[in-house]
């Protein structure tokens, strides 16, 4: 089998494990909101996003309008546009339009993070590997959560809540250590995020992440524009 595909699978295993526990929680919530196990699993398979799905289930539960559903998804998931734009800059030449149409389905926070940390250009095989294993974890966790309720004792499932964040830290810390401008952007984003959590609380968390990320990255780009050599890497 294609070695890039295998590499994608191996890079996706931590995401898969994290997704299993997060989507387990989503499955429980969806079932509690009156959705069947199959409906919850279809939502997970077709959306592959945590915050958007949770908000979507809320709209379904409260009988909201289609317009409300569209706006909620647009606002919460608009960050994927930024991520897609960022990834589009580092695609291998093998990434033809059909591959792009297919792989764009799998742009999630975690998959984006791992892909953007890659030094080499991204190939379709690599992205399919990482998307496939992550999606399996996401749908399986949803299915188990919705059908079986609490399988894990609370002490384990709560400790698993930190898995995805641990992965984020593993992605952000090493480049921050090497590169002061990345460290700067990371700290500014964290400070803005704290501000929105405790001071400017009227902004919803989806919006807050967008504002913090755009703000911190823009300040970083103004103060520390990258050199042309860095782009070639």
């Amino acid at each position: 089998m294609n070695s890039r595909f295998i590499k994608g699978i191996s890079h996706g295993i931590p995401i898969c494990l994290g997704y299993l526990s997060v989507s387990f929680g989503f499955g429980i919530t969806a079932a509690a909101s009156g959705l069947s196990t199959i409906e919850a699993s279809i939502i997970s398979a077709s959306n592959l996003t945590s915050a958007g799905q949770a908000a979507g289930v809320d709209v379904i539960k409260t009988g909201g309008t289609i317009l409300e559903m569209i706006l909620v998804q647009l606002i919460i998931n608009i960050r994927y546009s930024l991520m897609g734009l960022s990834l589009s800059q580092k695609l291998d030449r093998k990434f033809t339009t059909p591959h792009r149409l297919l792989a764009s389905y799998g742009i999630t926070d975690e998959i984006f993070a791992v892909c953007s940390a890659q030094k080499q250009p991204l190939t379709p095989a690599y992205m399919y590997g990482i998307i496939l294993i992550s999606m399996l974890g996401w749908v399986t966790g949803t299915f188990l959560g919705a059908s079986a309720g609490q399988l894990l004792p609370p002490s384990i499932s709560s400790a698993l809540g930190i898995v995805l964040y641990g992965m984020f830290i593993a992605i952000v810390v090493p480049p921050s250590r090497k590169n002061k401008s990345i460290l700067f952007v990371t700290i500014v984003a964290a400070l803005l995020s704290i501000l929105f959590k405790y001071v400017i609380t009227a902004i919803t968390s989806g919006f807050a992440v967008i504002i913090c990320a755009i703000g911190a990255a823009a300040i970083g780009a103004l103060l520390f524009p990258i050199d042309d050599e860095e782009v070639e890497e």
Partner: protein, 99 residues
């Protein structure tokens, strides 16, 4: 209203948001500012999503703080993703047993 319609709308909106920039941006961006911005975006997004949310991720701020410290320390020494992620979780679990 049928649940199927909601699900189709959800999935379609989410897909289109992801697909348009990823598929139709195949030129290299020339602006130095935008290229710098796009380089910094992933770190900014992850940082904003992690802090302060990580401290609430286990339902107990102390176990989460211990997990965070373990994760930062292991990441500082370039441990693999899966090791950092699971060690953070294990540290939170053990802390919970001790407390």
């Amino acid at each position: 209203m049928s649940i199927a319609i909601y699900i189709i709308v959800m999935a379609a909106v989410t897909y289109v948001i992801r697909m348009i920039p990823f598929t139709f941006f195949n030129k290299k961006i020339k602006s130095r500012f935008i290229r710098s911005f796009l380089k910094y975006i992933p770190y900014a997004v992850l940082s904003a999503m992690t802090i302060p949310a990580i401290f609430y991720s286990t339902g107990d701020i102390i176990t989460a703080a211990v997990g965070t410290i373990v994760a930062v320390a292991l990441a500082f020494f370039n441990c693999p993703l899966i090791v950092v992620a699971l060690a953070a979780s294990l540290a939170a679990y053990i802390t919970n047993l001790i407390l």
